[in-house]
C-alpha cells in the first residue's frame, strides 16, 4: 500500500459546531506515542475543544461509536488478529494517521524480521501452541492506506500537535524530511562526531526531535528513521574507519526503525562481516 505525502483531499471542513471525532488505536507498541498525546498538558484543553475524543482507552473509558473523522494509530502489526483489526479501523476512519516508529516502520519488534520467530516461540514460552503470531512485524501502511505517517520513537509532541493543527486547518503538515544535522546546527549544538568522536546517526536520520541527543552530547540513535536522502553506506564507512566493529555497525542500524528499507539494507550489508 502507498502512503500519500499530503493530508487527504478533498476534505470536509470541520465546522466549529460539530467537532471532528478523534480515535486513538493501539497495536503492537509500548504506548509511548499515545502518552506523548497525553503529555500535551498545556494544549489538551484546546485539543478537547477542537476535536471530540471519541475513542482513546489510554485516556478515557467513554466510547463513542464510529465512524471517526480522524484515527491516530500507534503500533505495528504482529498478529493475524491485528491484520483484521486494522482493516476494520481503516473502514471506520475518514482519515488515518500512523504515529511512531512501530506504526511507520515496524518498530523495535521488527528485529524478529531478521530471525526465526518459531525458534523464539519455543525457547521463550512454555506452551508455544497458545500463541498466534506473525513471523514479521510490519508497519500499518503494509496493510491499509495511510494518509500521513508521523515518525519518531516516540513521536515529538510539537510535531504531533502540528499534524493535528494541519488536519483541523486543512493544510499540509509542516514535517520536514531532512536530516537531524539541520536541527543540530540551527540550535548551535557542537557536533559530537567531529568534536568528541562519538558515533552519531544524525546525518542519515530524519529531523523531528530538535537534535535532542546531540544537544546533550550524545550521538543520535536514529529514532525518526531515515531522512529523505540517507547515505547509510557512506556513514557506515565512516563508522568503520573510526574503529567501530562491523557487527556494531549492523546493530546501530538495527534499532527502532530496523525494518525501514535503508536501515534494513545497510544492517544486512554488515551481517557476517568480520572485523579486519
Amino acid at each position: 500500500m502507498t502512503t500519500t505525502p499530503l493530508l487527504p483531499v478533498p476534505h470536509v471542513p470541520p465546522a466549529r459546531a460539530t467537532r471532528p471525532t478523534l480515535a486513538v488505536w493501539k497495536f503492537a507498541s509500548c504506548d509511548g506515542c499515545q502518552l506523548t498525546l497525553l503529555n500535551c498538558e498545556d494544549e489538551l484543553m484546546a485539543l478537547a475543544g477542537a476535536v471530540r475524543i471519541a475513542y482513546f482507552p489510554e485516556a478515557t473509558r467513554a466510547v463513542v461509536d464510529g465512524p471517526y473523522d480522524l484515527s491516530l494509530v500507534e503500533g505495528s502489526v504482529t498478529t493475524p488478529e491485528e491484520v483484521e483489526r486494522i482493516g476494520q479501523i481503516r473502514a471506520m476512519s475518514r482519515h488515518l494517521v500512523t504515529i511512531g516508529a512501530c506504526a511507520t516502520t515496524g518498530g523495535i519488534q521488527a528485529l524478529r524480521n531478521f530471525a526465526d520467530v518459531a525458534e523464539f516461540r519455543s525457547v521463550v514460552y512454555a506452551h508455544p501452541e497458545y500463541l498466534s503470531t506473525l513471523d514479521r512485524s510490519t508497519p500499518i501502511s503494509a496493510h491499509v492506506t495511510v494518509d500521513f505517517e508521523l515518525r519518531g520513537c516516540p513521536v515529538d509532541k510539537n510535531q504531533l500537535l502540528e499534524v493535528l493543527a494541519a488536519y483541523l486547518q486543512r493544510r499540509r503538515p509542516r514535517i520536514p524530511t531532512y536530516s537531524v544535522c539541520v536541527e543540530c546546527k540551527r540550535r548551535g549544538a557542537v557536533c559530537v562526531t567531529v568534536a568528541h568522536g562519538t558515533p552519531c546517526l544524525g546525518p542519515v536520520t530524519q529531523a523531528g526531535c530538535g537534535a535532542l541527543c546531540p544537544a546533550f552530547a550524545r550521538g543520535c540513535y536514529g529514532c525518526f528513521g531515515p531522512q529523505d536522502s540517507p547515505n547509510t553506506s557512506a556513514l557506515a564507512d565512516r563508522l568503520l574507519a573510526a574503529g567501530m566493529a562491523p557487527d556494531e555497525v549492523m546493530r546501530v542500524y538495527r534499532t527502532f526503525n530496523a525494518a525501514s528499507e535503508p536501515f534494513r539494507r545497510e544492517s544486512e550489508r554488515h551481517e557476517g562481516e568480520v572485523s579486519s
Binding site: 493535528l164 524530511t177 548551535g188 546525518p203 565512516r238
Partner: protein
C-alpha cells in the same frame, strides 16, 4: 607606519568588556562549551578560552592546551557571527485572530540589546561583508538583518594561530582584519601579555578612551606585524583561486560529482556552518485553535531535497547535483552574482563535515580532472 595604535593589558581587556556592557551591549565572544569554542555571551576575561588551541582537520576538532596563556590562541569558532546577525530562526511576524480579522503583534526585535562581537576574525568580518552585500546593499534590504547589523560593535582579533583547515590567505580574506571593525586587537604574549589595539571607527575610539591604554611603541607594532607574517605561513590548507570559476563551469558534467556523492551524507552541515551561506525558507505555523499564526524564516540548505522542490518534485533529487550546486555557487556563480568569491577560507565546512569532505581538496580534484576548453588569459573572463 603610524597606526595610532595603543596597548592595553589583560586588565584592560577586562575593562573593555565591562565598558561595552555598560554601554548597553550584549558582549558575544569566544567561550568553551561541550569541548569547542563557541560564540556566546561573555561577562569578562574569565569566560574566554584561555591557554587553548583548536586542533582542526577534516571531520576533526579537539581543544588542546597551549604552552602559553593566550585568550585568542584558537581559530574560527564553531559558528561565528552568522547566528548572531542572521539567526537560524527569525520570527517575521505573529498574528492573532481578532473580531474583525487579525492584528499583528509588535516585533520583539525592537527591544533586543545591540551586540558587541568580541574576537571576530578576519574571515568572520569578510563573511559579514558578504552578508552586507547580499542582505543590505542590493535592491531590497533585509530589515531584520539591517537592524541587528547597524547596532553591532565589532572588536576584531588578528589570528595568531590558524587551524589546520584555515585558508584565508588563499582567498585574500585574512589573517589580519583590514576593515569592518570598531577596534582591532592583536594579542602579544612576550615579554608581557598585552594587546595592540587599533581603532577602526569613531565609536571605537570613544570606547577605547574609557580604557587605560598606553601608546604603542615600535616594538609593539613590529611584534603585531610578526604575528600576521607567522600566521600567514601557517595556514592549514590552500585553495588555488586562479581561474577557479571557469574550472567549475567546465566541470558541470564531471564524473567527479558521483565520487563526491558516494561520500557525501547530504546532511547540510557544511552550508549551515558556512558564514556566507544565506539560504532560508519561510515557514508558517498556526496553533491548534488557529487563533495565533506565525511566520518564521529558518536556515535552509541546497543539500536538502525539499530546497529545490517545485511543482512535480525536487530539481536536485540526487546528492551529486546538490554538492555541485554548493561548490559551484560558492566558488564560481557567486562571482557572477555578487562580484566576489563566496568563500572566505574559514575552513568550517571542512572541519564540521561528518564525512570529512574538503572543499579545497574537491576543488583541486575537479581542477585536475577538468580540461578547460581554452587555456591562457583568454579563458579567464
Amino acid at each position: 607606519m603610524d597606526r595610532h595604535a595603543q596597548v592595553i593589558d589583560v586588565d584592560g581587556l577586562q575593562l573593555l568588556i565591562e565598558v561595552l556592557a555598560s554601554r548597553g551591549y550584549t558582549v558575544m565572544g569566544p567561550t568553551v562549551r561541550d569541548g569547542a569554542v563557541v560564540v556566546a555571551p561573555v561577562a569578562g576575561v574569565a569566560d574566554l578560552p584561555r591557554g587553548l588551541r583548536d586542533e582542526q582537520d577534516a571531520a576533526h576538532y579537539r581543544l588542546v592546551p597551549r604552552d602559553d596563556d593566550a585568550f585568542f590562541g584558537h581559530a574560527a569558532a564553531v559558528q561565528g557571527a552568522k547566528p548572531v546577525l542572521f539567526p537560524a530562526d527569525q520570527l517575521l511576524w505573529r498574528a492573532r485572530r481578532s473580531e474583525d480579522g487579525f492584528r499583528l503583534d509588535a516585533s520583539d526585535d525592537d527591544d533586543a540589546a545591540p551586540v558587541a562581537l568580541l574576537g571576530a576574525r578576519s574571515c568572520d568580518l569578510a563573511a559579514v561583508d558578504i552578508h552586507d552585500e547580499v542582505l543590505l546593499r542590493r535592491r531590497f534590504s533585509d530589515a531584520h538583518y539591517a537592524q541587528r547589523r547597524a547596532g553591532t560593535f565589532v572588536v576584531a582579533v588578528t589570528c595568531g594561530d590558524p587551524a589546520g583547515t584555515c585558508f584565508c590567505a588563499s582567498t585574500g580574506t585574512g589573517p589580519r582584519p583590514g576593515a569592518g571593525f570598531d577596534l582591532l586587537l592583536t594579542e602579544l604574549l612576550e615579554p608581557v601579555h598585552r594587546f595592540l589595539v587599533e581603532v577602526g571607527s569613531v565609536r571605537g575610539a570613544e570606547v577605547l578612551a574609557e580604557v587605560p591604554a598606553a601608546p604603542a611603541g615600535p616594538g609593539d607594532l613590529a611584534a603585531a606585524d610578526d604575528v600576521v607574517v607567522r600566521a600567514t605561513g601557517r595556514m592549514g590548507r590552500v585553495l588555488e583561486t586562479e581561474g577557479l570559476r571557469d574550472v567549475l563551469y567546465a566541470a558541470a558534467e564531471s564524473p567527479h560529482w558521483d565520487d563526491v556523492a558516494s561520500r557525501c551524507l547530504a546532511c547540510t552541515s557544511c552550508t549551515l556552518v558556512c558564514p556566507t551561506c544565506f539560504c532560508t525558507s519561510v515557514e508558517d505555523v498556526a496553533d491548534l485553535t488557529g487563533d495565533v499564526a506565525e511566520r518564521h524564516r529558518v536556515w535552509d540548505s541546497c543539500f536538502s531535497k525539499d530546497f529545490a522542490y517545485i511543482h512535480g518534485g525536487s530539481l536536485r533529487g540526487e546528492t551529486r547535483s546538490r554538492y555541485r550546486q554548493w561548490i559551484t555557487h560558492k566558488l564560481a556563480a557567486w562571482q557572477d552574482q555578487f562580484g566576489m568569491l563566496g568563500c572566505v577560507g574559514c575552513g568550517r565546512c571542512i572541519t564540521w563535515c561528518p564525512a570529512a569532505i574538503d572543499i579545497t581538496a574537491e576543488a583541486a580534484a575537479l581542477r585536475a580532472a577538468t580540461p578547460l576548453v581554452t587555456t591562457g588569459e583568454g579563458a579567464r573572463r
